[in-house]
Amino acid sequence: MDTSLILQNVLTPPVLFFFLGVISVVVRSDLEIPAPLPKLFSLYLLLAIGFKGGLELQASGFGGQVIPTVGGAILMSLIIPIICFAILRLKLNVFNSAAIAAAYGSISAVTFITAESFLENQNIPFDGFMVAALALMESPAIIVGLLLVKFAGPKKRQNVKRMRWRDIIHEAMLNGSVYLLLGSLLIGFLTAAHNPGGVAKMQPFTGKLFYGAECFFLLDMGIVAAQRLPGLKKAGSFLIGFAVAMPLLNACLGVLVARALDLSPGNALLFVVLCASASYLAVPAAMRMTVPEARASYYISTTLGLTFPFNIIFGIPIYMGLVNKLIPGATY
């Protein structure tokens, strides 16, 4: 059954364009999406995801499962980095461990929307408030990562000014992508509440265009991910193993929490995907600034070069299988 799910997942335009990007690097085509065009697509996706999430959050309100689910998600983004850190410390120093751990505690928005498309293809319903969970998982993971450096790291870091709480919060909350996502969520919420006409007028931009823009962005992500792979080889087999095993482990944790929260199968998959995915947007940018001792190539290669492709190709259908096994009512 899983194989057919994988095939159904792979034969969708976004995933196929991702492959097209990967293959272009492998066969050494000179296909290139020059900067800053990828930035255009990532800004657009964040804006559109946030806006749509805000609309749906306004529709669902804060009752029912919303608060528990979002709370559970934040909890996961606090716990997962600590588990990751413990594992990574077996082989890596504090700085690298903390930076990678923060990335895995956080989320990947593109993995999330690929999972949403997957659910739509399978006609499995899910709730829009899950975007709120997504939006609120970046900051805690960054904070945990920085605290790990602060407390587990050497008392005196070379060349480094003392890290102040202010700086930590700033990096965690005001990072460009976190800020745009949260801001758009709020705008979507306000618009839905006070200006329904505005929602309709945004729809062609944030709604209709979304799938195609996602394909374009995944084409670029395929190129970038494939370019990261050699860096991963240099990082060694420990990190390669980590980049595949950790998502699976986090997914297992996630599905248990989802079960405890009594989520529907659709929401459960999205919850699991949030746990299993790793950030290559907000977290790397924050770590680059605050933990320059960590090697950027480590946290970029693992998240972007391996965990991201693994999740969108194999991960999502595997997690769906998990959900189908463990979540009651997921039999159809």
Binding site: A35, P36, P38, K39, F41, S42, N159, V160, N175, G176, S177, D220, V224, Q227, Y280, L281, A282, P284, A285, R288, M289, P292, R295, A296, S297, I300, L304
Partner: protein, 93 residues
């Protein structure tokens, strides 16, 4: 006069420009979206969407005394975040 070439990550650009202003440089020129590789063999690429950004290349034409003023602080930034700084001779046209 001297020509100073600074190359470092875009994310430190604000800090560096503040430092230059504080040292009262007569002016500066900034080129963004610059990529490269340093001695640690880490290639900084222009994968801007990750927020990692690329490098910036800053050129300053100034007198030696200005350089003396900025030297120490510049090195503090470059040592922490990486980057290079080189001087050459330059004369006004």
């Amino acid at each position: 006069m001297k020509r100073l070439d600074l190359i470092f990550s875009e994310r430190e650009l604000d800090a560096m420009l503040n430092l230059l202003e504080a040292a009262e440089v007569p002016g500066y020129t900034v080129m963004k979206h610059v990529t490269g590789r340093g001695p640690e063999r880490v290639v900084s690429e222009d994968i801007e969407f990750t927020g990692l950004g690329a490098n910036a290349h800053v050129i300053v034409f100034c007198e030696q005394e200005v350089l003396d003023r900025i030297k120490e602080n510049t090195y503090q930034i470059l040592n922490y975040y990486g980057g290079v700084a080189f001087i050459s001779e330059a004369t006004p046209l």
